[in-house]
């Protein structure tokens, strides 16, 4: 089964891009499934169902979304195998800029959009810098120059990656991505595979439910702002 991880800031166009790409992949009679990871709620599963692909949703609730994703990716792969999928796509909203969802050797896509501001590529960490493919959406509503500057910045931040421009509404560009997806590596399991970069550490007192403010309540992994 081919495995592809798609991540990117909230509302950057991940679902739109995946759906348009699947429309091309379906022409090859590929059986595709999607697992959507989010924190509180999502309507994405409805969109995928409409398209006729198998879909599962995982909501992290009060857990760290990054860690939740990591602790559930192997089960998602098992599900995909049991459903006899040809391709499993995970969609996860990168809720912080320090997200690091990419797994070594597993095709990693990061979706960012032209409206998010030209400094965005600089701000996003491993999710963008270590992606194999950077998809840039919403080029239809900004000027040519802004598209060029944004793409340049994305390239500076993620020089190894291929950059693909996709219009999430019309699907323009999605064919190119579908070709790349067809080349993704096959795996029966992702056990023992490694992340490309460590996840954000989250072991302070607030991770475990502390709600009071003040030094005396803070334990564990703490970093202080330099003022």
């Amino acid at each position: 089964m081919k495995i592809v991880t798609v991540s990117g800031p909230p509302s950057s166009g991940k679902t739109s891009v995946i759906i348009k790409t699947i429309e091309y992949l379906k022409k090859d009679q590929l059986e595709i499934g999607v697992v959507k990871f989010d924190s509180l709620s999502t309507y994405d599963d409805e969109m995928y169902k409409k398209l006729g692909v198998k879909v599962k949703v995982g909501l992290s609730g009060n857990l760290c979304p990054d860690h939740y994703y990591m602790t559930n990716i192997e089960d998602s792969v098992k599900w995909g195998i049991s459903e006899k999928l040809d391709m499993l796509i995970s969609e996860s909203a990168g809720l912080c800029n320090r997200c690091s969802p990419h797994i070594r050797d597993v095709l990693a896509i990061c979706v960012i959009d032209n409206l998010s501001g030209i400094n965005t590529p600089k701000k996003i960490g491993p999710m963008l810098r270590l992606a194999d493919i950077v998809v840039i959406t919403k080029g239809d509503i900004v000027s040519q120059a802004e598209r060029e500057v944004f793409a340049f910045r994305a390239k500076q931040s993620s020089p190894r990656a291929s950059i693909i421009f996709i219009n999430g509404i019309t699907g323009q560009g999605a064919y190119d991505l579908s070709l790349r997806l067809k080349e993704a590596n096959d795996y029966e399991s992702v056990i023992d595979k490694k992340l490309r970069f460590s996840m954000p550490a989250a072991v302070c007192s607030y991770c475990t439910g502390e709600i009071r403010i003040g030094e005396k309540y803070q334990t564990g992994n703490i970093k202080k702002i330099k003022l």
Binding site: R98, D140, I141, Q144, E148, V149, K155, Q156, P159
Partner: protein
Amino acid sequence: MAKEDLASFKLGELLAQYDYARDFFISIGINDIDSNRSLKDFAGDINQELLEDAGLNGEQLITNFLAFIDKMETLKKSSCNIVESITIIGGNDKFGQEENIKLELKVGEVISIVGPTGSGKSRLLADIECLAQRDTPTNRQILLNGEIPDMNRRFSIENKLVAQLSQNMNFVMDLSVNDFIKLHAESRMIDHVEKVVQEIVKCANELAGEKFTRDTPLTQLSGGQSRALMIADTALLSLSPIVLIDEIENAGIDRKKAIELLLKEEKLVLISTHDPVLALMGDKRLVIKNGGIHKIIVLSEQEKQYIDVLEKIDKKMLQIRSHLRNGGVIDESITR
């Protein structure tokens, strides 16, 4: 210096040779660079905190840096004259009828695309933009310089062939005209930034009705001024040799000058339009019907003779428009 060795050179030397290399470090949050150390040394004992901030480990830092230098060098070298022609090989219209054409379009030409609403003008532009290979609803194929384009080309931004302008596009950056153009120029890594900024503002002002200055915030430009700036900027700063224009008529800019400006920069210009004056600016006119290219009309000497007349009618309409805008009323004088 050989690429693989770059990591062993002193950072100071690297920065001297590749002036943009500093951007790489700044963009990953590394501001203090010890110029006497090599990238290898630097990446080898980078401290945990810095590593966290960069979001890259030592090895990844080196890989990304080498890829960065490589891409920036290619970008610097790439010129826009790599495309001389595109060829449209017909597919089928909305009813499955074959289009049966093979049409070569050359850099330096203006092609207008006309046809009823919903006939498929924008679709044709989209086919060109994505270098369709019988993989779009029209089944058209696009060749570059007479050959099937290299797939890698579809994925690399330094070779992005097509610039697009349409009525839906707006500036979203919160910058002055000056800072904006500078930013674009810097991303092209050209040397004469100041000159280009001046030139673009000058050209844009020649196209737009109302003048604007370099200090105007982008978001305060009128629709016509924005469009004029986009065109001038595309002509003078975009690398892409092919320019696709989808409906710019109502923007209140000097369309003729705009097209001339783009042509001066050796571009192939395709314009989808409902506007008669723009339609006649094309050396060739593609007539679209039911999703297919129905007819190709070469601008004839006879048509050329009447362009003046069309322009006069157009001017008259513009006059009436501005008359009404300024609170005028229509009387029998419009028949003169």
